[in-house]
């Protein structure tokens, strides 16, 4: 009858509705997935562009300008490392640099003379209780203990500064003595008498005047250990030398007090060349 027919229609309608719902759901799903694909494609393209940029950047090509508002994290890190290294290099070049350690600080004092970098020395300090020198590589003839006794506990900066003065002055004196021995060995008679601190130099050298050579003796005493110029100079010639040479000796004595040793000898050579 009619009810059966109605039931059948109802059932059909129900089925159709369900199917439609299913289809709609599927379509929705499809649409969502399509949208997702779009999103992902977009992201991929962005990343690709970034990679290309980085590669181009590494090859140094002036290609596409990267978005300045968004430098990559890697670029930022690299820049940071570079500027820290530069800062450390600057500190090293100033002559005194330090690094915190587990138990204190480790300092490095670098010496230089007239633009030439010479040796570096290290100090490993403990700072937990009172300040103590744990280890160091300072030469034994530098009065480290004396300097430490005076300044280490009260004023570390002063301690480092005074020590650095001693080390730099020593490096300068040694440099001058080495230069003298190396470059002017033909003018030196016999051996150059020196000592570990290079604060006493005694040597004989030749001075030519009117195509005759006369032996001079020089004794340079460096009374100030923080200074690379001598405090006392004695230049003497043999008793039988002509009187004019006494003036030359005095002039040399004065020169040694004011000018670096090897530079003084340079000026002797050039002066003699111009005279003869």
């Amino acid at each position: 009858g009619v009810f059966a027919h109605l039931e059948m229609l109802e059932a059909r309608a129900h089925e159709a509705a369900v199917k439609q719902e299913e289809t709609e759901q599927q379509e929705e799903k499809l649409a969502r997935l399509k949208a997702r694909v779009q999103e992902l494609r977009l992201q991929r393209d962005e990343l690709r562009a970034k990679v290309d940029l980085q590669q181009k950047g590494q090859l140094g090509k002036e290609g596409v300008v990267s978005d300045p508002a968004q430098p990559s994290a890697r670029a930022v890190l690299e820049w940071k490392i570079k500027s820290v290294k530069a800062m450390l290099q600057v500190f090293y070049l100033t002559g005194i640099s330090g690094k915190l350690t587990k138990r204190g600080v480790c300092f490095c004092i670098s010496t230089a003379y007239e633009g030439t970098y010479l040796d570096s020395y290290h100090l490993d300090l403990l700072t937990k209780a009172e300040v103590q020198i744990h280890r160091h590589s300072v030469p034994i003839f530098i009065p480290l203990e004396q300097i430490a006794k005076k300044y280490l506990q009260t004023d570390i900066r002063r301690f480092l500064s005074v020590l650095s003065d001693h080390l730099n002055a020593y490096a300068g004196r040694r440099y001058q003595a080495d230069q003298l021995q190396g470059r002017f060995s033909d003018r030196i008679e016999g051996t150059l008498q020196r000592n570990s601190l290079c604060n006493l130099l005694v040597f004989n050298y030749n001075v030519s005047s009117k195509s005759k050579t006369f032996p001079f003796n020089a004794r340079l005493l460096y009374g100030d250990l923080c200074c690379s110029l001598p405090t006392e100079v004695t230049v003497s010639c043999t008793p039988d030398a002509p009187a004019s040479l006494a003036e030359t000796a005095a002039a040399h004595s004065d020169l040694f007090r004011r000018v670096a040793l090897h530079k003084a000898f340079c000026s002797f050579s050039s002066a003699e060349e111009s005279v003869d």
């Binding site: 450390l88 090293y92 490095c108 280890r135 590589s137």
Partner: protein, 346 residues
């Protein structure tokens, strides 16, 4: 020429390896180049030495010149002797102006005022080192050239390196003369001995490799130890541990070569700790024990112990403190930092 001098020169030449004889005689400078050319340095050493003595006869060598040859030999072969290190002390703070002539004069005067029969020779070297050779006699006999002491002193440092050989009784006199000549107050022997003079110098002058932490960029490639070369089939199971050991070792020993010591000696004066039930050594007396580590190169072998798997890293500070404490003789007493704080006072 004195017969004893001739014999002394002959014996000194015999000590020198044959290939080195000519160079050493040239360094000596006592025989002229023409004289040296008359000697056949390829014959047996017996004959070479005879020829050399003959030439020295022509030049009338005396003991002073013969002594110089001995100094040169010992300077080139210092490792044939055992060297001890002595430390000098002074209280004043005046700047030192080491004057070599002054030093030599004071030393000779002091020594000779106590003992007339000595032969004293000096020789200076480029590294500010003064070598002193002393041949000892007695108040009644001439100096015995075969009983010599050697002293090496670097100006303006508190350390003296002495190789005594036989007559230890002359040591106090020698020490006194050194103190006076170098303007110090007193001197004591350190607990540091070795055949390698240069290594002793490295230790007390702090020239050995110490690992200081600095920011100064050392190229990192240097530190990455050579890659596991060789067989790629070998996989190191405990690579982390190996790397840790390398790191710890480097922190302790540094990168460079170690000073060369032949032994380290530990004298124990500690109580024997045993299970009380065992009842061993009931009397509470220290257990006397001497531990001696010997090696052709002690510090290098200690450095290689942990990487070779024979010891744990880090090594005991008793072993690793040797260069820093500048000693290789230790007395270990009971308790409180069993560390050998006290020096053995003279």
């Amino acid at each position: 020429m004195d017969v004893t001098v001739a014999e002394y020169i002959r014996r000194t030449v015999l000590k020198i390896p044959r290939d080195e004889i000519k160079t050493m005689l040239q360094k000596w400078g006592f025989l002229s180049e023409t004289q040296l050319q008359t000697v056949n340095f390829h014959q047996i050493k017996e004959n070479i030495s005879q020829d050399v003595v003959q030439l020295c006869e022509e030049n009338s060598a005396d003991i002073k010149q013969a002594a110089v040859l001995d100094i040169i030999y010992n300077h080139i072969y210092p490792n044939k002797r055992v060297w001890s290190v002595y430390q000098m002390n002074k209280t004043g703070e005046e700047t030192e102006f080491f004057d070599l002539t002054d030093f030599k004069k004071k030393f000779k005067r002091r020594l000779r005022s106590a003992l007339k029969n000595v032969t004293i020779n000096f020789r200076e070297y480029e590294d500010n080192a003064v070598w002193i050779r002393i041949a000892w006699g007695t108040p009644y006999t001439k100096p015995n050239q075969y009983k010599t002491s050697y002293v090496v002193y670097h100006s303006q440092t508190p350390y003296v390196f002495i190789s005594v050989s036989v007559l230890k009784s002359n040591l106090p006199l020698l020490c006194q003369a050194l103190v006076v000549a170098s303007n110090y107050h007193d001197i004591r022997e350190m607990e540091l001995r070795s055949h390698s003079l240069n290594s002793l110098k490295d230790i007390v002058f702090k020239r050995y490799s110490q690992n200081f932490q600095t920011y100064y960029p050392r190229p990192l490639q240097e530190r990455n130890v050579a890659p596991e070369s060789g067989d790629l089939r070998i996989i190191h199971e405990n690579r982390n541990e190996r790397e840790r050991i390398q790191r710890v070792n480097q922190e302790v020993f540094g990168d460079g070569p170690q000073p060369k010591l032949e032994f380290a000696q530990y004298k124990l004066e500690t109580m024997f700790k045993s299970d009380p039930k065992m009842g061993v050594l009931d009397e509470k007396e220290p257990f006397r024990c001497l531990v001696k580590f010997s090696s052709p190169h002690l510090l290098e072998s200690l450095k290689s112990l942990a990487p070779a798997g024979m010891a744990d890293a880090p090594l005991s500070p008793l072993l690793t403190c040797i260069p820093q404490k500048a000693r290789n003789y230790f007395k270990i007493r009971e308790k409180k930092g069993f560390f050998p704080g006290s020096f053995v006072s003279p």
